[in-house]
């Protein structure tokens, strides 16, 4: 029990510094259930970081209107892109001879987000004691976090699907396109549903008012 609780944080940390080893282990050697649990926790922590960041980060870097903050929306902003990415990636790679299962794609994506968590979480407090000139460090480290995450995503994709580097880059690009396509379809779907509902409501009102 003690050993497993220790690996909760040891394994993700190992993975982000040794991504090739880490993702290999993720695919072939580790207990899937445990890894899935860790992935879920990473996502949860990222949501928490995002919410705390929006509310409590320093005045100099916080451009949110406190009146307009909505924790549920912040949650959506994390979950939806990750899920979209996973679904799009899975849909594509099944067509492109990828070897990854959906759960593997999901896990590898979540693990790739660890740098974001590690770098942004301390900045919630650090940003409270910086001046305008020092915000450069904030933006710089943010950029590093994003770069690192992209790199991990790349390695993760490559390992999980057993692709060549060139094919991985192509897949990642196509995944982005697919995400945009999915977003479009979702919007279309919701707007159509909205129209149908409003049509039904209008008919109902008409009947009620005439009757």
């Amino acid at each position: 029990m003690l050993a497993s609780s220790k690996q909760l944080y040891q394994y993700p940390l190992h993975l982000i510094f040794h991504p090739f080893d880490g993702y290999w282990e993720l695919k072939y050697e580790r207990n899937q259930k445990m890894t899935l649990l860790i992935a879920g926790m990473i996502m949860l922590l990222l949501i928490m970081t995002k919410i705390l960041h929006a509310q409590y980060s320093g005045f100099l870097i916080n451009f949110n209107n406190p009146k307009r903050l909505n924790s549920l929306l912040e949650m959506v902003y994390v979950i939806v892109p990750v899920l979209f990415w996973c679904v799009a990636n899975w849909s594509l790679t099944t067509l492109m001879d990828g070897e990854g299962k959906f759960s593997e794609i999901f896990m590898s994506t979540c693990f790739a987000l660890v740098p974001l968590l590690l770098i942004q979480f301390p900045w919630i407090w650090l940003s409270l004691v910086i001046s305008v000139q020092e915000t450069a460090f904030y933006y710089f480290s943010n950029a590093i976090a994003i770069g690192w995450t992209v790199y991990l995503l790349f390695v993760g994709n490559m390992t999980v699907h057993q692709y060549t580097p060139a094919k991985t880059i192509l897949t990642m690009f196509l995944t982005l396109v697919a995400m945009a396509f999915m977003a479009f379809l979702c919007l279309l779907f919701f707007s159509l549903v909205q129209q149908i509902v409003s049509f039904a409501v209008t008919i109902y009102q008409e009947l009620v008012l005439r009757g």
Partner: protein
């Protein structure tokens, strides 16, 4: 066991409630609710504000014991607060003193021994010396009269290679700078203002608006055939709607549609040098319905200390900004009450009063500052003149009357910064959403704090590092001995 799971559940629920509470809305600060005046906050939301001006009088032709004004279109107030009104429909200029008593009426002037009249004049400017400049639109000329109403010069249709052959000179507004150069805003001219030399010869255009291309429209145009294209609207730069000149000779200009920058301050080269440091760039209304549309600014008036006001024809509101581009106050409106207009066309400041001319009703509404307005103006004025102590006092007073005036808090913050009250200063800057000021105050506060507590912080750090190293050494030793024991 059961108790512990219930406990856990309780914590989870509390945690979730806390998450939901993060989005809790702060209550609105209520200012003086006796007026319907408003203001825009840092976030671009309309918030209530006390009235800065109140309408005190209405001037009509009848009240001056002359004929009623017929479609008056421009107004000018000199530095000594004499009021000149251009009564276009009657083709005359009416001069009033500062108490709105009729002084004289100019409806003709002598030209080569014969009397000459105006024909639908639309623009009027009075120089410091009292010379009158009239944009005599339908006569296609600008008439320059001296302080006695004697003709000095006539600027007629210019001859220049810069102009099209079929060009019709129809001046609408006119100003003159200290070097007696005349700037004319003419109808159908998209190249900016026409600049004339002191002797009345045309020299050049200045300050043209840039063409603004809508990318979608541009794409359509690429696909359209020549016939279709000829039916489409051309990409033309927007025309200016009005202009005014400040004491230093800079031209303030407004353009009617909401382009990128509907208000401009032009230097002698025609470059826009208006400061837009405020929460939002100066543009009139931020929020509007699709019915009214965005602000259509049709007049601008520059007062002292770089404060300027613009008039929005759509909503009849007057927006006043300071030199940095911070919104100071909003008043006026379209309606039937005193202090509201039907067709406002011109705006002039006369000391602490603002005059708004209504074309359809043929009347001038006189607004007088309230105590709030005076305090705010005095604060801006003192700050402009470098008297920061007085300005911070006045800003504090203004903030007391209007808690929504975020701009005022920065003034207090600046004063506190100089009094070395860094922590408080940072708080005031934060309230004012002034990030640079906040950073400056905070940096000084941080330095002060560090200096004060440096000794024990550093010794604590040394102690911590020392103890950590000791613990590590002891551990290593222990491990070595146990390993040795195992062996």
């Amino acid at each position: 066991m059961r108790a512990s799971t219930r406990n856990k559940r309780k914590w989870i629920i509390i945690g979730m409630v806390c998450l939901l509470l993060f989005g809790h809305e702060a209550p609105l600060v209520n200012a003086d609710r006796t007026s319907d005046a408003y203001h825009y906050s840092y976030w671009g939301e309309a918030v209530p504000a006390p009235a800065a001006y109140e309408a005190t009088a209405i001037i009509t032709g009848r009240k001056l014991n002359t004929d009623a004004f017929k479609e008056p279109s421009d107004l000018h107030v000199t530095a000594d607060e004499r009021v000149f009104l251009l009564d276009s429909g009657n083709g005359r200029i009416i001069e009033m003193d500062r108490n709105f008593k009729l002084v004289r009426v100019i409806d003709s002037f002598e030209r080569e021994g014969k009397p000459d009249h105006f024909n639908n004049p639309r623009g009027l400017y009075v120089t410091d010396k009292g010379h009158l400049l009239v944009a005599d639109s339908d006569n296609q000329r600008v008439v320059h009269l001296d302080e006695l109403g004697q003709l000095v010069n006539i600027v007629a249709e210019p001859q220049s290679d810069l102009l099209r052959a079929d060009f019709q000179f129809k001046p609408i507004r006119v100003v003159m700078d200290k070097g007696e150069r005349i700037y004319v805003m003419a109808e159908g001219v998209f190249d900016g203002f026409m600049e004339f030399n002191a002797d009345g010869t045309f020299s050049s255009f200045i300050g043209a608006n840039r063409v603004q291309v809508d990318p979608v429209e541009y794409l359509w145009k690429r696909f359209a055939t020549r016939e279709q294209r000829s039916q489409m609207v051309m990409f033309t730069p927007t025309e200016f709607t009005n202009l005014d000149m400040d004491e230093e000779g800079f031209i303030y200009a407004t353009s009617g549609d909401r382009g990128k920058d509907p208000i401009k301050k032009l230097n002698a080269q025609g470059t826009d040098i208006l400061r837009r440091e405020g929460y939002q760039p100066p543009q009139g209304d931020m929020m509007y319905t699709t019915e009214t549309g965005p602000s259509r600014l049709i007049d601008v008036d520059v007062g002292d200390s770089d404060m300027y006001s613009v008039l929005d024809a759509n909503t009849g509101r007057v927006f006043t900004y300071n030199g940095d581009g911070y919104l100071l106050h909003i008043f006026g409106g379209i309606g039937n009450r005193q202090g509201q207009f039907n067709t406002p066309v011109a705006l002039e400041r006369a000391g602490e009063r603002i005059l708004v001319l209504d074309k359809a009703l043929g009347e001038i509404t006189v607004f007088q500052t309230t105590e709030y307005g005076r305090t705010l103006h005095d604060a801006v004025r003192s700050y402009y003149n470098g008297d920061e102590d007085r300005s911070s006092l006045l800003f504090a007073k203004a903030a007391e009357m209007n808690a929504n005036l975020e701009y005022a808090y920065a003034g207090i913050g600046k004063a506190l910064l100089r009094q070395k009250e860094y922590a408080d200063s940072a708080q005031y800057f934060k309230r004012s959403m002034e990030r640079l000021g906040y950073s400056k105050a905070f940096l000084l506060f941080r330095k002060e704090l560090m200096r004060e507590h440096f000794s024990w912080m550093m010794s604590g750090l040394f102690l911590a590092v020392g103890s950590l190293v000791t613990v590590m050494i002891v551990r290593r030793q222990k491990r070595r001995t146990t390993n040795a024991g195992v062996k």
